[in-house]
């Protein structure tokens, strides 16, 4: 059974259909890359999986671990193991990153009937992950993403992902706004989380990220559908020829 199974998904935003019959199967342990031009529906797909309000699912099904994901509230999806690394992480003034991490982790654990972590145990976990992502302690004491650079915000997304240990990670343009060094740190963080139990969907415009996070499958999305799937070589081909050829195919 696939970890994530999307069947004939149709999604509308403000009376316009932006995903038009999309099928996708992602198995545990796999990393899928979704590439495509602006407006092809990549971010919409990530939002619909995570349950962001404002989208209308017209038709189709999304199964996660065999369960109907569309019937679940967004926080239930999170507790079930769906994690979305945001393209534009928000700032939350007055709430320290540390507090935020703790609130999120405990909320999820509670929803799963697990015990909350003790303070020392929690701190130990955060420090360990933060260290590997080159995140300084003082950053954890600042408001969530407040005054963070683009790179720091993206590293903070990976930090949350590592701490929450989701089974499905969706990374929406995690590479945007990163310089080469930051990209390497983020990519290392992602690679460190690859495991046989976990799947990832990496949404990107550029092959660059995929040099570091090597995908098992590459999909090309255009006009709300997956128009071509292949192995990592497909990313190279796209870089050479552009998306133009697929625009016609769709």
């Amino acid at each position: 059974m696939a970890l994530l199974e999307i069947r004939d998904l149709h999604v509308g935003v403000e009376h316009r259909e932006v995903i038009c019959g999309l099928d996708l199967n992602v198995h545990a342990g796999e990393v899928h890359a979704i590439m495509g031009p602006n407006g092809s529906g990549k971010s919409t797909l990530s939002h619909v999986i995570a349950g962001k309000p404002g989208y209308e699912v017209i038709d189709g099904q999304i199964l996660f671990k065999g369960e109907d994901l569309l019937e679940m509230d967004p926080d239930e999806r999170a507790a079930a193991g769906v994690f979305l690394a945001f393209q534009y992480p928000v700032e939350i003034a007055g709430v320290t990153t540390m507090n935020f991490l703790r609130a999120a982790l405990n909320a999820q654990r509670k929803a799963r009937d697990q015990q909350e972590f003790s303070t020392p145990e929690f701190l130990k976990r955060v420090r360990k992950v933060a260290g590997s992502l080159n995140i300084r302690q003082d950053m954890l004491k600042r408001g969530v993403n407040v005054g963070f650079s683009g790179g720091e915000k993206k590293r903070n997304e990976i930090l949350q992902m590592a701490l929450l240990e989701p089974s499905l990670c969706i990374l929406d343009e995690i590479d945007s706004g990163l310089d080469i060094d930051a990209l390497r740190i983020v990519a290392n963080g992602i690679n460190g989380l690859r495991s046989p139990e976990r799947a990832m969907i990496v949404i990107t415009h550029y092959r660059r990220l995929l040099d570091h996070v090597v995908p098992d499958v590459v999909h090309v999305m255009s006009k709300g559908r997956i128009v071509k799937s292949g192995d990592k070589e497909l990313a190279l081909e796209l870089e050479a020829c552009g998306y133009g050829q697929f625009e016609d195919a769709a």
């Binding site: 309000p53 928000v90 003034a93 007055g94 709430v95 999120a104 999820q108 408001g143």
Partner: protein, 497 residues
């Protein structure tokens, strides 16, 4: 934090009990409805007051007859019939219970969620221990808790007495310390000050009196003690706090626990006097019944609070967390009379449902080199209206006056309103007044971000709002900051979606 929803529902259920409160028949120990000179005399007599106090009340009453209700605040309510109100009722004897076991477990759980210590719950709910009775079935903790609180109160009294601090109900102070009361009562808020303050002067029921002698630093927060004694202080509360030369006192009124009261109109007066080099810190947590989900009922909270920095280098600091009441009309202010005196106002005002808040402060700079600071955080949700109204003024002779004001408003949903009405007057050119104001809406993106990480909608709102008010929360005494934080989350239930 899933439990938050339960708490909210429990508090709601307690809310329903308010409704029954209005129908409760009060015992016969009360004056007839309405207000007249006879009623004022009756109140004074019931309290065994000296003649001067009665005269003071009567003068206020006669003045009140000539006054009209203020209408400038941004609040709407049906006209109040002042002849349809009871102005004196002996404290309603609560049903005697002897242990916490007899109290509705739902209510106990609410207290528990708010983190209020058991012994205080016992006092708030009026648990009286049966002396000499041992009932093995009764939970030990309840009895211990009560005995404990009695001993705590006694210890407090002894310790305060040793320091020379006078802390007692104002009705007692009128009899025992008439010279102090006569000297200071009405010296900050004159009997003619405003409609509600004048009404209060005529009919005030009781309240607290504090006098801290020169050079004394009050050895404890006058808070826990007060909370234990708080029940039945009534609707026309009168508080007077005097900090003599070089003294310091921190005072906290109110409580995060849901306050049940069948009186709809509340008109309290609080007067603070700080003499040379004295400092008073006054904190309020107000959680009166806000009315039901259709906007029916709820307390009208028309309060006059004012501090007089009478002496040089004196300091008065107001901190308030206002979450309750159907209508809040409240402007804790500072008169900066002494040279180099300073005033502070830190406020969190939350409105949800159909609540209306018109609150703020006045900083009146009279002395030289006086400074003031205003940090106001208004949060409007539901169909509520939340107004900050403030005045900062520097007298002609108040050279070197400085003020910093920051007013931030947060809107939750699209059916509420936030308004900022700052008045600034500088009558001399050396005054430095800074004013910052922001209004923002709690964004869907921020909420979704939190929810995607596993927080429920309510938890997400609570988290964001607590972040928004953090700077003010930090000004509260530590133990209350934690309670207030939870209260804020509960107050905003059902504010989104």
């Amino acid at each position: 934090m899933v439990a938050l929803q339960e708490t909210v529902e429990r508090v709601k259920r307690i809310g329903d009990q308010y409704r029954y409160g209005f129908e409760t028949l009060i015992d016969s120990e009360k004056a007839p409805k309405g207000l007249s000179e006879e009623i004022v005399k009756f109140i004074s007599q019931k309290k065994n007051e000296p003649a001067w106090m009665l005269q003071w009340r009567l003068k206020a009453y006669r003045r009140w007859l000539t006054m009209t209700e203020p209408t400038w605040a941004r609040v709407e309510y049906p006209k109040i019939d002042f002849q349809d109100i009871y102005y004196y009722a002996a404290p309603k004897p609560k049903k005697t219970v002897t242990s916490l076991d007899e109290i509705d477990p739902e209510i106990l759980k609410t207290y528990e969620k708010l983190g209020i210590p058991l012994r205080e719950v016992a006092m708030l709910e009026g648990v009286e221990p049966k002396v000499g009775e041992e009932d093995p079935a009764r939970r030990k903790i309840a009895v211990d808790a009560v005995f404990d609180s009695v001993s705590v109160a006694t210890t407090f009294k002894a310790e305060l007495k040793k320091a020379g601090v006078i802390f007692m109900p104002i009705s007692e102070a009128i009899r025992e310390h008439p010279e102090l009361v006569q000297k200071y009562l009405g010296s900050v808020v004159p009997t003619s000050d405003n409609f509600y303050a004048t009404l209060n002067s005529a009919v005030f029921s009781d309240g607290s009196f504090v006098y801290v002698p020169p050079g004394v630093r009050c050895p404890m927060e006058l808070s826990t003690y007060f909370r234990i004694n708080e029940r039945n202080t009534g609707q026309f509360e009168r508080t007077l706090i005097i900090a003599d030369k070089g003294s310091y006192v921190s005072y906290l009124e109110g409580c995060t626990a849901p306050q049940r009261d069948e009186n709809q109109l509340h008109a309290a007066v609080v007067e603070l006097v700080a003499v040379d080099d004295a400092e008073i810190k006054y904190s309020t947590v107000q959680n009166w019944y806000p009315g039901n989900s259709e906007g029916k009922g709820g307390i009208y909270n028309f309060v006059t609070k004012r501090g007089d920095c009478r002496g040089d280098r004196s300091k008065i600091s107001w901190t308030q967390v206002e979450t309750g009441s159907a209508i809040t009309w409240k402007y804790p202010s500072c008169i900066l009379r002494g040279d180099n005196s300073s005033g502070e106002f830190y406020s969190i005002a939350i409105s949800n449902g159909f609540q209306q808040v018109d609150s703020g402060t006045k900083m009146i700079h009279l002395g030289k080199n006086t400074s003031s600071r205003i940090i106001s955080k208004g949060i409007a949700a539901g169909k509520s209206q939340n107004t900050y109204r403030g005045l900062v003024t520097a007298h002609r002779k108040a050279t070197g006056a400085r003020n910093f004001t920051a007013c931030d408003s947060l809107l939750i949903g699209d059916k509420c309103g936030a308004h900022t009405v700052p008045y600034i007057e500088a009558k001399n050119s050396s005054a430095t007044f800074e004013h910052e104001a922001t209004t923002s809406k709690i964004s869907e993106d921020v909420l979704f971000y939190c929810i995607q990480r596993g927080l429920s909608q309510e938890e997400a709102v609570g988290l964001v709002v607590n972040g928004f008010v953090k700077k003010v929360l930090q000004k509260l005494p530590m133990e209350f900051a934690v309670e207030a934080q939870k209260l804020i989350s509960i107050s905003l239930d059902g504010s989104v979606g």
